[in-house]
């Protein structure tokens, strides 16, 4: 099980040099970004075993020692000795070079599988650990295909009662999922989904197992080229309510399991296979409730480490589910007005640490305010006086101001009352500033919102002129960017009051 604040990855840190660690981390991050661009972003998890909690040195055995160990396992009759040999083999497999040696031995996987199903529980455990190490191998030769002999057994054991053993099986399967489409089809055919469903039901009070189920499921459904059969199977399986039950605000569960289940829901929602079914099973309600709870926690200042890992998938899930039907129909699940407050609180809290999260939070607001029947949410934003908080986000780039301008544009499109309220909240001076920004897209959106405001009521056009906004529009007319030039000209010609003259001397 993972503990967010104390995990030490053996391969990651050689010394205690912080700078070196940060450097490696940055390099690693770049790799991940490259991988994502190539649609190759895949992660595997490796369970640390109890006797490996110490950051001891790995003993890399020589290859003949590995072979010898394996032969002892293969031929051994004494179960106690076999257990010791398996343990030694497992420790040897902590070193990746041993993987290649092992798989070259004839029937190596079969032998491990035999022990996996054997009579001795400890042998089973050690065999499972060996397979787990192999599933996490960096070598491409040690892939899921090679390990496929084990999968039917691993899946069967998911319905077993032993938490530790089950956890191992789960992570092993989870590591195998992203490898290829064939593997996933095979797992599906072998019944992995009902097995996961059973598993989470049996072990629902065990944090570690629940987290492992969540991880494995997320690996299964987030892999590329997920066939059209996996997600409908998941939706039909009864897993959803079980995942949702993990999303309780109850802190006893800890963050790990909730994080994994939330990411599963995100992958399901963004695949857009049958979001109506998701909503019908209560996904939107649970996710928004949890977001409100997290918003309250953030407001109180109790921001746990890693909480953004939970907020992120919830935002994405809610954001995408909002398109699953007319907003009016979804409203009963969105009736807590604190959701809007939370969506405004997250950007404020995470602007400096995770600006992308701020942006996604505003994206959800966009989806709430852009629908045909969004007027109730737009009204609520004014009633709760949340618009100034949005306006304060306008100076920030990273896509944040564009998303905020979208939301403001959505609100302005509702009607004249809304435009007047926007002006009252101080939007016009803020637009005078955004019109000067370097990003053309920001200026374009600003002109759009401004146009809507000025068209809705001549008072607003006059107010804009009073705010010395005219020179900005004139300046934009000289830009070499046609999009903004045209819009600025349009505003000057059509939406400014006729008596308004261009008087630069008045605005020194």
């Amino acid at each position: 099980m993972w503990r967010l604040n104390a995990v030490r990855h053996k391969a990651g840190r050689q010394g205690s040099d912080l700078e070196e660690f940060k450097f490696k981390r940055r390099e690693h991050e770049k790799e991940l970004r490259r991988a994502r661009k190539d649609s190759q972003l895949v992660s595997k998890r490796l369970l640390l075993n109890d006797d490996e909690e110490e950051d001891g040195t790995m003993d890399t055995l020589a290859s003949d020692q590995v072979v010898e160990l394996f032969n002892m396992v293969r031929h051994g009759r004494d179960l106690v000795k076999k257990e010791a040999d398996l343990r030694a083999l497992r420790k040897a497999l902590r070193s990746p070079s041993a993987h290649l040696i092992l798989i070259k031995q004839p029937n190596s996987i079969a032998i491990l599988v035999t022990n996996l199903c054997g009579p001795n529980p400890q042998c089973r455990l050690e065999a499972a650990r060996c397979l787990h190490e192999l599933s996490h191998s960096p070598h491409s030769e040690v892939d899921s295909l090679r390990l496929r002999q084990a999968t039917p057994y691993l899946i069967t054991f998911l319905s077993g009662q032993s938490p530790k053993f089950t956890e191992l099986c789960l992570y092993t399967l989870g590591n195998m999922c992203p490898d290829s489409e064939n593997v996933r089809d095979m797992l599906l055919a072998q019944g992995i989904i009902p097995a996961l469903n059973n598993c989470i039901q049996i072990h629902r009070t065990n944090l570690a197992v629940v987290e492992a189920v969540g991880f494995t499921l997320s690996q299964l459904i987030s892999a590329n080229y997920v066939t059209g059969t996996i997600i409908p199977a998941v939706l039909a399986s009864g897993l959803i309510p079980r995942l949702l039950s993990v999303l309780t605000p109850d802190s006893q569960f800890g963050l790990g399991p909730v994080i994994e289940c939330a990411w599963c829901l995100h992958y399901l929602a963004c695949s857009n296979v049958d979001n109506g079914a998701l909503v019908a099973q209560g996904t939107l309600l649970h996710c928004t409730s949890l977001l409100v709870t997290l918003g309250v926690a953030v407001a109180k200042g109790s921001i746990e480490e890693g909480i953004e890992l939970l907020i992120w998938p919830l935002l994405r899930c809610v954001g995408n589910l909002l398109l699953s039907g007319p907003l009016g129909a979804l409203q009963p699940q969105l009736n807590d007005s604190r959701l809007l407050a939370a969506l405004c609180a997250f950007p404020q809290a995470f602007l400096q640490t995770h600006p992308a999260l701020a942006r996604e939070s505003i994206w959800v607001l966009n989806n709430l305010t852009a629908a045909a029947d969004s007027s109730v949410f737009c009204s609520a934003l004014f009633y709760l006086n949340l618009v100034p908080a949005l306006i304060q986000l306008l100076p920030f780039s990273h896509g944040i101001n564009i998303m905020v301008l979208r939301v403001l544009g959505n609100i302005a499109h509702q009607g004249r009352e809304y435009c007047l309220h926007l002006a009252q909240a101080g939007l016009l001076p803020a637009l005078c500033a955004t019109l000067k920004m370097a990003d053309t897209e920001v200026v374009t959106f600003s002109l759009e919102v401004l146009g809507q405001l000025m068209a809705s009521d001549p008072q607003l056009a006059e107010e804009f002129v009073r705010q010395s906004g005219l020179p900005m529009l004139e300046a934009i007319q000289y830009s070499n960017q046609e999009t903004i030039r045209l819009r600025a000209t349009h505003l000057l010609e059509h939406h400014l009051p006729p008596h308004c003259t261009v008087d630069t001397s008045a605005s020194q």
Partner: protein
């Protein structure tokens, strides 16, 4: 970090009704007659095209990148770093949109200062930017108003003539105005409007003067301006040959006045090229520290005086560069009469015919 109102909203007690459907809804829609072109404008083209749109993002969308990276770092146990270098929110930069000027600024104040310095109150004839609308008006009047320049020339004529008369022995047709004119010009003279006035540059003063010198003296004496203040634009000609072709504007504030058109008559007031050259050279030698003139484009014929401590009255806009304005000669304050002004001798002198096309 979080604003108090937000905190209060989120931590409000359960007694408060938080339901959205309990919140009064504002009235939707626009007034009848309010024209908003979301789908078309009066001229038939859609100029403003924004419509509210819900956005569906799939798993691989670029907006999701940072979050995915964060998740995978966590999965790979690398997110637990005490000083997490994550991308922080940047404030947007500001850019000047005037075509040809693509400078970028990190604060609004910097941008506004740039804009106010270089793009406000710009003279469309000579591209100079003046500090205020009033000074722009004065600049246009004094430098680009043909009528003004003609009348001003007349003033100089008067001074020149009077100076000349003192030494000349010929008879002059002296009109009651004291000007030495032939009869037809005398008539013209009367038909022109009253003498132009060079305004005092200090706002609120209102004094006007017949010559630039007088104005300058006034400003130095009364308003305590430094004598090296940029009173007037002085045309310094880098390339004398080009200047010979392009003599369109008035020259120095002093007496080297040039005609507006091609010289026709015998005795027009012309600047003497060799003299000017000499004049400049003299100035150069007087000012040992002055840098060589840079090669400016012709359309920004440069202001001459530029002393480090003297405030610059007008600024030439140099596209896309922020380089220091080059040093130039000091303002010249001589009262010399151009040699070629010639009155009285030989054939018709003075202002017969020609020259001054309005």
């Amino acid at each position: 970090m979080l604003q108090p109102e937000l905190i209060q909203l989120l931590t409000a007690s359960d007694l408060v009704d938080l339901r959205i459907d309990a919140i009064p809804k504002l009235q939707v829609g626009f007034r009848p007659g309010c024209f908003f072109s979301s789908s078309g404008s009066q001229d038939g083209e859609a100029k403003l095209t924004f419509i509210p749109q819900q956005i569906l993002l799939n798993k691989d969308h670029e907006l999701f990148e940072d979050g995915d990276i964060h998740r995978h770092l966590y999965l790979q146990n690398l997110s637990t770093c005490p000083a997490y270098d994550s991308p922080t929110a940047r404030q947007c930069e500001f850019r000047c949109y005037i075509s040809g000027c693509s400078q970028v600024f990190s604060t609004v104040e910097d941008y506004e200062h740039h804009y106010n310095t270089l793009h406000r109150h710009v003279c469309s004839s000579c591209q100079r930017s003046l500090p205020s609308a009033r000074l722009l008006d004065i600049h246009i009047q004094e430098w680009h108003d043909s009528l003004f320049s003609i009348l001003a020339e007349r003033q100089d004529m008067v001074a020149n003539i009077h100076a000349h008369k003192r030494t000349c022995t010929h008879t002059h047709y002296v009109a009651h105005s004291g000007l030495d004119l032939d009869q037809s010009m005398h008539t013209v003279f009367h038909s022109l409007s009253p003498r132009p006035k060079y305004q005092c540059l200090v706002e609120g003063c209102g004094s006007k003067f017949r010559t630039r010198d007088q104005r300058k003296d006034h400003m130095i004496k009364i308003h305590k301006y430094p004598s090296d203040f940029m009173f007037d634009k002085v045309k310094r000609i880098k390339n004398i040959k080009i200047a010979k072709k392009n003599m369109l504007q008035k020259g120095t504030s002093m007496e080297v006045s040039m005609s507006v058109s091609e010289p026709e008559g015998v005795c027009e007031v012309l600047s003497d090229q060799p003299e000017e050259e000499e004049y400049m050279e003299i100035n150069h030698s007087l000012e040992p520290g002055i840098l060589d003139p840079p090669s400016n484009p012709i359309n920004t014929v440069e202001l001459s005086t530029d002393h480090d401590t003297a405030p610059i009255l007008s600024v030439t806009i140099q596209p896309t560069t922020n380089q220091q304005r080059p040093q130039h000669n000091r303002e010249r304050h001589s009262y010399r009469v151009p040699r070629t002004v010639c009155f009285g001798q030989g054939s018709v002198q003075g202002f017969r015919g020609h020259g001054r096309r309005i």
